[in-house]
């Protein structure tokens, strides 16, 4: 495949699309409306009625799972995992499956739009606002923004995925000496990537994302880590979990979860230990201390300040339990401790991460199978560029607020939704004269932008993605368009319905228009040429899944196989020599506010931050509560009885930062002093399926951070008030059958 041919040419199709979808109806005579023959020029290899499969990469989160998309007469029908991609080995999560509903979403941005801030991008009838400028004008706008502003007045805010666009924009900013693009995502914040990397750096002396080898362990202690849900690379970790349970047919791996609210991951644990929020690190220290004491060795520096009795008191885990668990951990052949989730989102999150790493070091599993590694660095990557922490985002927002930024480009992230309200980004936007959004969907940030130049959906785009976590081998996932776009066939000539353009193409064209250093630094005809220029670095590598000496051949293989990855085990085994020498103060967590209840926000595992506009994800029940289409607040039934509230009663939850109203879900597996709320709903834009549905728990959060600068999202104390209103939650489970007394209040 030469670089002159892009698949867009022969994927050009006609007659398909909006009005006359080929399969309209089922069993009625309406099937006469069927129209066939979408192609004007049918590719030689395509037969009617037979599918064509393309390998690409899932863009729903930043894990970089490989996909195989099945297409049929120019339409994408189904995505499945790419069995060769080391991240997911042919598997997908629910979000990946629903990516088609993003591609064919009824609310996407129709084309380049100049619009006044705050104006909705779709009308009350849910019709998308029409494009009101041409792409040439759009490119001119970008070119002007890049050339007429001072370099330090230009800012790029990007999503979490370390993809080709990030490389391109990094090159672009380097060429004009602008500040490097900032990357951010709510998931990265919930995962506390900064904290994890800082802990690795502090204890192991090497920077990188930790890689927990669940699959080869025998015993897993997870301190709040929701590794089966959205944490780092859920599909890969689920595979690890599967292997933990079934690797050894004679001995099933054991799994203990410490957390205040039973998560989906906690539900799969053999033991779920409801500890006081913020004491996870302390428990890890106590376990370590008890293990050392039991073995009769002298306490290393790490455990010098640990008072086991007081930890047992404050955490709510009895000393007996702690001793039993410590024994279990010490006696296991391959024990593994993981920290994550709400445990790190505390004021003492870094201490927790480090205490857990110390526990691993104590059983000497750093760099060993079934232990802790650092994730392999992706091909082409010089280092892992982590997304910004909240502290850095705070600084960035302050910079916007100060008015020193004249133009802000936003791509791949929806910061107005994904940042706590207490970080006043919305206000800061007022001091930015020009905001350009490259959003595919009409999200909250796009609504506040001056220009929306929609990027193509992941399934329409070229690209690659450097895999940061999950794969044991160094992996570069490759993406290619599987369809040329969404078309309508209202007239004889099919019209593109969503006139999106790859942001990389827009930036490259703008760079040429802007001229000067920019034009000479980014002399690429289009996105594909840029990608090829990057892939040249891999030519001749023989330790990969395939190799090629010539770039066009390599690109063809790259697209055909959905990326390039090494066949070796590239996990980094760091040195653990100093891991036990850091002393801890064993400080309990600090909480914000004087409410009586701990507040634990968690990511709704199916929906996550950007799934709300996909009706199928809305309708897929939450794995623990089975609630669909809305958000809820989880309260222990005893607490609910004390408050005099029942299922579906609307309560007002208020913290120091704000208040929200949500329906009560009496959740039996949560501490009575804790309430929990899912993150994922509460959109004020983002299409008809998302808008006006549920609430965003971020409205309750302050900008308090942990020691590493990640948001201390679980550090709020809140109070609850009954409102007297009732709003029925839709759930899959039958309340009559699942709960006692036929679900009636006793």
């Amino acid at each position: 495949m030469s670089d002159k041919i892009s698949r867009r040419d022969f994927l050009k199709l006609a007659g398909v699309g909006a009005a006359t979808t080929a399969v309209l109806t089922g069993c009625g005579p309406a099937a006469r409306l069927v129209q066939r023959e979408p192609y004007t020029k049918m590719p030689e290899y395509t037969y009617n009625g037979l599918s064509t499969y393309y390998a690409t990469t899932c863009r729903e989160c930043s894990a970089g799972c490989g996909l195989i998309a099945r297409t049929y007469q120019g339409r994408a029908i189904k995505v499945e995992g790419n069995p060769n991609n080391p991240v997911n080995l042919g598997k997908t999560c629910a979000r990946g499956q629903a990516t088609l509903e993003g591609l064919y979403n009824p609310q996407r941005v129709r084309g380049p739009i100049k619009h006044s801030r705050g104006q909705s991008l779709y009308g009350s009838d849910n019709q998308n606002v029409e494009s009101n400028m041409s792409w040439d004008d759009a490119i001119q706008v970008v070119a002007d923004a890049l050339s007429k502003n001072q370099p330090n007045e230009i800012a790029f805010l990007m999503g979490m995925a370390p993809d080709h666009l990030f490389d391109l924009i990094t090159d672009l900013t380097k060429a004009i000496n602008a500040p490097a693009p900032i990357r951010f995502g709510a998931l990265g914040m919930f995962e506390a990537r900064t904290t994890l990397m800082q802990a690795a750096n502090d204890l192991l002396g090497q920077s990188g994302l930790p890689f927990f080898d669940i699959g080869n362990a025998d015993l897993v202690f997870s301190f709040g880590a929701n590794f089966l849900e959205t944490w780092l690379s859920p599909v890969a970790q689920t595979r690890g979990y599967s292997s933990l349970r079934r690797r050894n047919p004679n001995q099933r791996g054991y799994f203990v979860q410490f957390e205040a609210r039973m998560s989906q991951t906690g539900a799969k644990a053999d033991e779920w230990i409801p500890i006081t929020p913020g004491t996870e690190g302390l428990v890890a220290l106590a376990l370590g201390s008890l293990m050392v004491t039991a073995s009769g060795a002298s306490l290393p520096a790490a455990y010098s300040n640990v008072d086991v009795n007081s930890i047992a008191n404050v955490s709510g885990v009895t000393l007996d339990t702690l001793k039993r668990l410590a024994n279990m951990f010490a006696g296991s052949a391959h024990p593994l401790a993981i920290s994550g989730g709400a445990a790190l989102g505390q004021s003492n999150g870094l201490q927790t991460a480090e205490a857990v790493l110390t526990l691993n070091a104590l059983v000497n599993n750093i760099g060993k199978d079934g232990g802790v590694f650092l994730s392999p660095l992706a091909p082409l990557a010089d280092e892992y560029h982590r997304p910004a922490s909240i502290r850095e985002m705070d600084d960035f927002v302050a910079k916007l607020q100060s008015g020193s930024i004249k133009v802000l480009f936003v791509h791949g992230v929806n910061p107005l939704f994904e940042l706590p309200k207490s970080i006043a980004l919305r206000d800061a936007f007022k001091n930015v004269p020009q905001i350009v959004s490259f959003a595919t969907f009409p999200d909250e940030t796009a609504v506040q932008a001056d220009y929306i130049f929609p990027d193509k959906h992941g399934l329409e785009s070229w690209g690659y993605q450097k895999v940061a976590a999950g794969a044991g081998s160094s992996t570069l996932s490759g993406a290619q368009p599987v369809v040329s776009g969404v078309y309508t066939a209202d007239g004889a000539v099919p019209q593109i319905f969503y006139d999106a353009r790859a942001t990389a193409d827009v930036l490259l064209a703008a760079a040429q228009k802007a001229g000067g250093t920019l034009a000479s630094a980014l002399k690429f005809k289009d996105e594909l040429e840029y990608i090829q220029s990057q892939l040249k670095g891999l030519l001749g590598n023989t330790d990969g899944f395939f190799s090629a000496a010539e770039i066009n051949t390599f690109t063809a293989y790259f697209q055909q196989n959905g990326g390039w990855w090494k066949t070796s085990d590239d996990r980094v085994a760091p040195s653990a020599s100093n891991a036990l020498n850091k002393t801890f103060n064993a400080t309990p967590a600090q909480f914000v506010g004087d409410g009586e209840l701990y507040f634990v926000p968690f990511v709704e595992p199916v929906m996550a931050e950007a799934g709300a506009n996909k009706p199928w994800l809305q309708e897929i029940p939450d794995p623990t509560t089975t609630v669909v289409w809305n958000s809820w607040v989880e309260i222990n039934p005893d607490t609910a009885a004390q408050l005099g509230v029942d299922n579906d009663d609307v309560v007002l939850i208020s913290s120091d930062a704000g208040s929200v109203e949500a329906s009560v879900y009496k959740y039996p597996a949560i501490r009575p002093d804790t309430i929990a709320m899912p993150f994922g709903q509460g959109h004020t834009a983002y299409g008809q399926f998302a808008q006006g549905r549920g609430v965003n728990p971020f409205d309750l959060l302050s900008n308090a951070t942990n020691e590493a600068g990640d948001l201390a999202f679980a550090s709020m104390k809140v109070s609850i008030k009954k409102t007297g209103k009732k709003r029925q939650l839709s759930r899959l489970e039958g309340v009559i059958g699942v709960y006692e007394n036929f679900g009636q209040q006793p």
Binding site: V16, A18, T21, V23, L24, T25, G26, C27, Q73, R75, A76, I77, K78, E80, K91, T92, C93, A94, G96, Q97, L103, Y104, P106, L228, T238, R239, S242, R245, R246, R252, M262, Q264, A267, K268, D270, W272, P274, V486, P605, V606, P615, W616, L617, Q618, E619, I620, P621, P623, T624, T626, V628, W629, A669, R671, P672, R693, Q728, E733, V738, Y739
Partner: protein
């Protein structure tokens, strides 16, 4: 109360190679992540029904992942996630009650078929299904004339699966379109179907590989071997429906 009522029963009922296709679900591995539900819906053109209908017990998903609670705080446990779909009974209670042969047994594949175009919507089959595995098209969920948002969303409908309209019963088919497709491919290449060649959408997606699918009349297949382990059991086996979905008990 109702917690332990439908855990798989072990009755040591001999398999006797009754049937052709079978599925084994390892509840120990199922993490309840709902990927199978999404994959199934995407593959089989299952519509979404909206918040109100979904809350009223009208979800159309062909798989539902059940879970119960046992004990009370702090010693509370969630019972193992249990994906329930049509169990493709060898002796299915849904079949004889249909007055028009819409719910009918496939003699060649030993599956329960639902012939959508034959269904007149008496819903007797759904009443008589002990597993409550059937879903009914209460409305024209797939009609873009009534739901304008579908105009674009319809593009990903699978042409191999009939799109159902209102008044029709439907259920899991073991992805029979994939069985047929694979059979056709094997036939055109003049060979038998290989073990693991037919993969339903749910098994294909499952990140934990908790779902195995294949021929149960051949003792060498993965699914046959998994089905004879000591953890294996069937849902409501005492009814004698001879279901073709085997559950491997969780937590052991």
């Amino acid at each position: 109360m109702a917690n332990d009522l439908n855990s798989p029963v072990k009755m040591n009922m001999s398999q006797d190679a009754q049937g052709k296709w079978g599925m084994v679900i390892d509840q120990d591995l199922c993490t309840g992540c709902q990927a199978c539900v999404a994959a199934c819906s995407m593959e089989n053109n299952v519509p979404f029904v909206g918040e109100v209908d979904a809350g009223y017990g009208r979800n159309m998903q062909w798989i539902r992942i059940e879970r119960f609670w046992s004990g009370s705080f702090p010693d509370i446990k969630m019972t193992s996630y249990q994906p329930v779909m049509c169990q493709q009974c060898h002796k299915a209670p849904c079949e004889p009650v249909c007055p028009v042969y819409a719910s009918v047994h496939s003699e060649s594949e030993d599956l329960n078929l639902q012939v959508y175009n034959r269904c007149i919507g008496t819903r007797y089959c759904a009443n008589n299904c002990p597993y409550q595995a059937r879903t009914f098209n209460w409305r024209d969920y797939q009609d873009a004339r009534q739901r304008p948002e579908l105009v674009t969303l319809q593009n990903h409908l699978n042409p191999d699966v009939t799109v159902r309209r209102r008044g029709v019963m439907e259920k899991c088919t073991f992805c029979i379109q994939r069985i047929r497709h694979t059979e056709d491919t094997a036939e055109s290449e003049n060979r038998e179907i290989r073990d693991g060649e037919v993969v339903p959408a749910c098994a294909q997606a499952c990140p934990a590989s908790a779902i195995t699918f294949g021929r149960i009349d051949d003792p060498t297949t993965q699914v046959s071997q998994a089905a004879v382990t000591s953890r294996a059991g069937h849902l409501l086996e005492d009814l004698g429906t001879i279901p073709h979905v085997t559950y491997l008990a969780g937590g052991a």
